[in-house]
Symmetry: C2
Subunit: 114 residues, 2 copies
Amino acid sequence: MEPDDEGSVLTQLRRGTLEYCVLAYLAQGPSYGQDIARALGSDPVLFGSEGTLYPLLTRLRRRRWVETTWQPSPAGPPRRYHALTDEGRAALRAFAQTWEPFRAGVDRLMKGAQ
Amino acid sequence: MEPDDEGSVLTQLRRGTLEYCVLAYLAQGPSYGQDIARALGSDPVLFGSEGTLYPLLTRLRRRRWVETTWQPSPAGPPRRYHALTDEGRAALRAFAQTWEPFRAGVDRLMKGAQ
DNA sequence: ACAAGGTACCGAGTGTCGCAAGGTACTTCA
DNA sequence: TGAAGTACCTTGCGACACTCGGTACCTTGT
């Protein structure tokens, strides 16, 4: 893929934030893969493809930031619901405190560049 | 390294933005490696170590976003000055237009998570 | 009954890029 | 002459978003 393709700029931007975006979405209530993909995908800026999501969710599970339960679907195969743990909430708060000054720093530099 | 270490969160955040931060700094005037490192390093949020910078500058040069000239230093080895090209300025503008909605999207999700 | 299509989950392989550590070279000054 | 400061550069590594491909479940139409 071309390195100066705009898509790849977004790809790089999403690194490190995507998993916290998922956490933030889960903070509003438990959800399952396809729903998360649709929700974050509705803002095409935040989320690329579904193939990204499942490895990410596995990572969150391994870190015990989410706990999962299988639940039957009204129509279709069962869904794996992901619920934030206390550790997950703490990680999300920690991220928010890192994100804030970072975003401020980038904004300041960008503003100075015009 | 611990995955929930705060340093590594920043490392991931910097991906994709760091090179545009350098471009933004260069938009204020040509500069050389050590000076860029000091300038961005003064905000410890944006910049980690010097080892990151030179590969990054090489990348910018290869994409013709900067042009370099060697100039003698008042004291010490010669410095390689990096100046933004028109292409570099265009890339910076394009990034600013990608960054804006991205940052807005993350902010919105983070705000909704409390 | 059984094929087709929608829903849902998952994994292997790839490439990019920030980082740590280590290395080279030039200049000045004691 | 050797130590200290400045400046540039490379190697090896790890994290993670992405692409592509695959499996399984359930409903519906014929």
